[in-house]
Subunit: 206 residues, 2 copies
């Protein structure tokens, strides 16, 4: 097996969604004084590479701990969408029940720029509804969000319990490969969680 | 595939290692006011089910982001050790290079009791050295720690870049099964990280 990391590093310098609290990391134990090094991490549930649970946008929706484990992994499908997140971008792509569909827009190249948060394309509602019809497990993007306020696409997907992955990186490493996505969030009884999201490439594939 | 969760839930009521900071969860966005629900999680790098990086106890040791991705998964080996964490507990067990060896002591049944932190067995240095000889990837326990202050076993394992998983739960669900462990921590440039640790059971096995 070969593994590919699709997650951004977590540190105090990472950008966060406008209005969200910044990541803070404080020492909690000193190796010379206490015999071990230890830290206290403060992080928003939607900072960095993370997963949205239905309760993020749906009143009464499931929190992450209520989502069955099998929903956090599946066959990955990479869509080289560029900035077009309409139905035409998946023309001719075979999407199957249980797939995890990742859209590579290229926005991750602007991760540290203002444009990353104020000039990104929104997925169309038609595409979101198509992915629901196909019964995918998760939808992922290399952007800060799948759409803009008031977030109709978030609501369409989360209402159907389709999880959303945001702030993916390194998607170009998946070009031309068959892969499986593993996207297990922390066991938080909350609306979202940062997660280490990785692709597993079968040996026959590399 | 079938998945088994080996992670404790993360919330403000969870116990933490004596002296470590408590978990705090604050609201950051309100679904009625902001249109979305969002939280700010503050958590120690060694709270709940978590992974120790070498830098936790070794000066100049690797932080978690420096550990190759392939070290976070492998064939799982379950040792029903009970409270005996000496060499004899793995008598006759076939341990291979790259395995992730989990010791089921039963201490997880006392997770919320004072004994969980003040009366648990330590792994012997001999057993730790045997696991190093076998070139395992990770060593996991359903206890708050693999040993007691001044933590000789931690240091023996971490010095050889063998990662340690602590506060596992639900290990009895693995009895008699073949399984693979997936234990991907957050991409923190730090000494440890809470992680969603799961076992993957091949279909032929259930």
């Amino acid at each position: 097996m070969k593994w590919i990391d699709l997650s951004v590093p977590i540190n105090e310098k990472m950008p966060v969604y406008p209005g969200d609290p910044a990541v803070k990391i404080e020492p909690a134990g000193d190796i010379h004084k206490n015999g071990y090094e230890d830290h206290y991490l403060s992080i928003g549930t939607h900072a960095g590479t993370h997963i949205d649970a239905p309760s993020h946008m749906i009143v009464g929706g499931a929190t992450l701990d209520q989502v069955p484990l099998e929903n956090f992994s599946g066959r990955g499908v990479l869509i080289k969408s560029g900035m077009n997140l309409g139905l035409e971008t998946i023309d001719g792509v075979s999407i199957q029940k249980g797939d995890i569909v990742l859209f590579h827009t290229g926005m991750s190249g602007l991760y540290r720029e203002p444009e990353y948060y104020n000039n990104y394309p929104a997925m169309t509602e038609e595409l979101a509804r198509y992915l629901i019809d196909k019964k995918v497990k998760m939808v992922g993007v290399d952007m800060c969000s799948v759409d803009h306020e008031p977030f109709p696409v978030h609501k369409i997907l989360l209402k159907e319990n389709i999880l959303i992955i945001e702030n993916l990186t390194n998607l170009s490493a998946l070009d031309g490969l068959e892969f499986r996505i593993l996207a297990f969030p922390l066991k938080l009884q909350l609306d979202g969680s940062p997660a280490r999201i990785v692709a597993e490439i079968p040996q026959t594939n590399s």
